[in-house]
């Protein structure tokens, strides 16, 4: 459990960080909760690390223009405990609270997790359901913002180009009538999601409206279950109709199988937890 030799730099500011990362050879360290274990197992052997986790320019939670702007270096604990996040985007706080353990939540960062794109991590489901946007920057300039759904390309793969860094995640401020829920089945050893379901919806006179449902942990890539969303809109939330509405949530998904859960069981859990998440979200929607 000893990593290969590597250089470690903790730049003083974002500009210096970007220039260190410009040639694309260095790897960003943004909390290290995933990268460091990989390095210790020698599954990753970067020659150089640039530690951005403590850059003040990347650590902010701001409400502006109808969105919450979250710096990449904001820790899971900050999200879980922030009064602004809890009132303006409670789904994100609910998700952050369920990540790892207190040690991981104190060190791990939103940007680090998003850039790592582990298909069993918790944020993807929630960021998809929130229709989050990702701001990326690089030394070469040309900052760009894209939707999280486009940012997430595949297993451990994102739209980040070499030299590019996640600077910020923006999520829309939710009005307090929105119902939400993140329901997760924990892998018993690692605490990652065997399946995680994020639901965000509105209550339109007793009927589900504007439902968004996203799934993490099931397959190689977290996804929005739009067919389920469509099926949910307009329903009153009765058990039988919910069961029917979520029936296709895992359809066409090449679900993971490992020693903790088979594909068939994962798909079943996705359906069960989708119903539970919708029911909780609906109970919270006013």
């Amino acid at each position: 459990m000893i990593a290969q030799n590597f250089e470690y730099t903790r730049p003083k500011n974002l500009e210096e960080a970007l220039s260190l990362l410009a040639d694309g050879n260095a790897k960003v360290l943004a909390g290290g909760m995933s990268l460091v274990p990989l390095m210790k197992l020698r599954l990753a052997s970067p020659e150089s690390l640039v530690d951005i986790a403590r850059l003040p320019e990347l650590n902010y939670i701001r409400e502006e223009g109808g969105a919450l702007h979250l710096g990449a270096a904001v820790t899971h604990y900050q999200l879980e405990s922030s009064a602004v996040v809890r009132s303006k985007c409670p789904l994100l706080a609910e998700c952050a609270r369920q990540i790892g353990d207190p040690q991981v939540r104190n060190r791990g960062t939103l940007g680090g997790s998003v850039a790592h794109a582990d298909p069993s991590s918790d944020y993807p489901a929630v960021l998809l359901a929130l229709e989050a946007r990702v701001l990326m920057i690089s030394a070469a300039g040309g900052d760009r913002t894209i939707g999280y759904e486009d940012f997430l390309v595949d297993t451990f793969t994102t739209a980040l180009e070499p030299g590019e860094v996640v600077r910020e995640i923006a999520v829309p401020v939710e009005d307090n009538r929105t119902g939400y829920s993140y329901q997760k089945v924990l892998q018993p050893a690692s605490g990652f999601a065997i399946v995680g379901i994020a639901v965000r919806l509105r209550n339109d006179g007793g009927r589900i409206a504007d439902a968004r449902v996203a799934v993490t942990g099931l397959g190689g890539k977290p996804y929005r279950a739009r067919n389920v969303e469509n099926a949910l809109n307009g329903l009153a939330g009765g058990a039988a109709e919910l069961q029917h509405a979520v029936a296709t949530i895992a359809e066409g998904i090449d679900a993971n199988t490992d020693i903790h859960a088979s594909a068939e069981y994962r798909k079943h859990l996705a359906r069960v937890y989708a119903i539970r998440a919708v029911a909780v979200a609906l109970s919270r929607a006013q």
Partner: protein, 777 residues
Amino acid sequence: MATTITKHETLVGTSIRRKEDPRLITGTATYVDDIQMPGMHHACILRSPYAAAKIRGIDKQAALDLPGVVAVYTGEDTKDVGPVPCGASLPGLRVPHHYILAIDRVYFVGHPVAVVVATDRYIARDAVDLIEVDFDPQAAVADPEKALAPGAPAVHPEWPDNTAFTYLQDGGDIDAAFRDAEVVVKERIVSQRLIPSPMEGRGVVADWKSGDKALTIYTSTQIPHLARTLIAMMLGVPEHRMRIVAPEVGGGFGSKLNVYAEEALMGFVAMHTGKPVKWIESRRENFTTTIHGRGHVDYLEMAAKKDGTILGLKIKLIQDLGAYHQLLTPAIPTLSVLMMPGLYRFKNVHAEIVGVFTNCVPTDAYRGAGRPEATHTIERMVDILAAELKMDPAELRFKNFVGNDEFPFATATGLSYDSGNYAAPLRKALEMVDYDKLREEQKQAREEGRLMGIGMSAYGEICAFGPSPATPAGGWESATVKIEPSGTVTVLTGVSPHGQGEETTFAQIAADELGLNLDDIVVQHGDTAIVQYGIGTFGSRATAVGGTALYFALQDLKAKLKRFGGMLLNSDDVTLGNGVCVCNKSGKTVTLAEMAGASYRAMSLPANTEPGLMATHFWEPPNFTFPFGAHIAVTEVDRDTGAIEVKRYVAVDDCGNIINPLIVAGQIHGGVAQGLGQALCEIAVYDDDGQLLSGEFMDYAIPKATTMPWIETAHTVTPSPVNPLGVKGVGEAGTIGASPAIVNSVVDALSPLGVRHLDMPMTPERIWNVIQKGVQS
């Protein structure tokens, strides 16, 4: 003196916080990895990535060329070091020669192949990647039943049947029992492979003093003296020039009741390089190369009368040994057989053990070592019988318990149960959960379609190993008590605590006997240069055997103290107590410090009395001790997901007299956690190629603080007649009682679906599958 405990207060029986804790919680304890020595090298081991392969060649040149690398040794270099020892002997046992580094073949993933010695641990690790080993992979077998099938790959080519031994044990008349049976129940019960997972892995520092031809090995072990004898033999170092130090040891759970290749290997390296060397095991190495526990497949048949009287039990026990015998590997299943009768009166047993080689890391003692498997199977079988007879499981147990007037009770497996009141803990546990009301609640829950279960176990265990004739290395224990000239006391114990708290409990015993404060006593252990020979800490033996040795050493010393007291008081009629000696005529007293001072100053001496105050006692126990208890678990199963919630957990244990209730509670809590881990989530998974899939804590699930239920503990107290302290042992009790209580509870929850048995770990998916089948049928 800093202690708040006032003199003369009786300490035994009191909840005292551990003397060990301040150094542990302030980070000032010294573990192996904290040891630094001038010029110390660091070692890293190249291990086999294959479960079975021939080694065609090893090229170590690139590693040697890396700056900072001091040496690279392979099996060719170390082949004259004696084999890793197996201390167990069974008739006809096949013992493969266990070289400390592989020679021409590897037998499991993690098998050590070469060692790099370098100036720092990072260079050593890098150099391992530079060694080129030409492996020729061979077919492997990782499952014991598959290994027994005809045509299975041979783990050791010289023994194509993969059978290390078969062992038979009969008691009573099993044929008569089955002939008279009105009911026979059968089941196949698995006790899966588990990874012991102490917080601290293994680690070794070896230091060779060439001028003195003396070797010191610091190692994270439970058995420093036995390790000294065995490692000295392996390395050819005379034992009196060999010193073993077990510094702070961060848990073992049996996994450090062993002698490992790396301990001798580091001695070899230090002797060949002339410099101290350190090796610290990584967690990955701990998972793949430190022993595993359990690994049983048991086929059981129980014979009974319709009224519930159990007549006899047959078992065929298939033990997954792994690729080699470590210190006690083949002996562990024999302990299971010994305890097969559990707490019950039946006198007819037939047991057959088949010890099977697999291409996996060896199994050996893990918390409970054979007894959890025994208790799990008998307690499952009793519940299965209860279901068959439609009897209440508590009632069936009460009917078959050995009666209070039957002790000492001779079992069908040749043991003599020392003392017991087996109904008492179960009765108490049933009262604690309000059993009748709980069954009513269950009825209600079932009507609502909820899957609620109530499960119990009544366990017995064999502890305090043990009479020497019944143990591989001697079953006695030793203690030395030194009253220093100023009247403070040093205890040297032959046991080797690594979390059990004997620095506290032994100080309690000594303080009470001598009438001193807790802080007047220091308990030392683990260093063979300081402590007289001892056996070590395992099998819930330390207090029952080591504590008794201490008790007798204290009696010797008290007799001598009394002579000095009499001399100082100029009287033959004196009484010793409360830290003073009193003249019964004049009422004059002398303190323990005054007696100690007089004994060392030796201006005058009592008749036939030597100066000084030191006594050593080696105590041979006449029998094992047999703790017992009853656990009850209330569970509810989520019908939609198969997830199990433990809603209530009650543990009533009888470990004889209790010296420190706080430490006993800690042992029960930790033990239950490990039993619950086996029942619900822990399993070492090897794939068909012998790769360990649960090879890290990211995939091997141990219970966490957040997943543990609240544990309600209580006790009954039945003192052991085997030792004067009346203690039985409690280190493994929680683990032994827990797994059957939980499984019985979940089987009970699912019984409306026709479920009779579930194997461990009862993962949600496994339960969900069972529910699906039940719903469909």
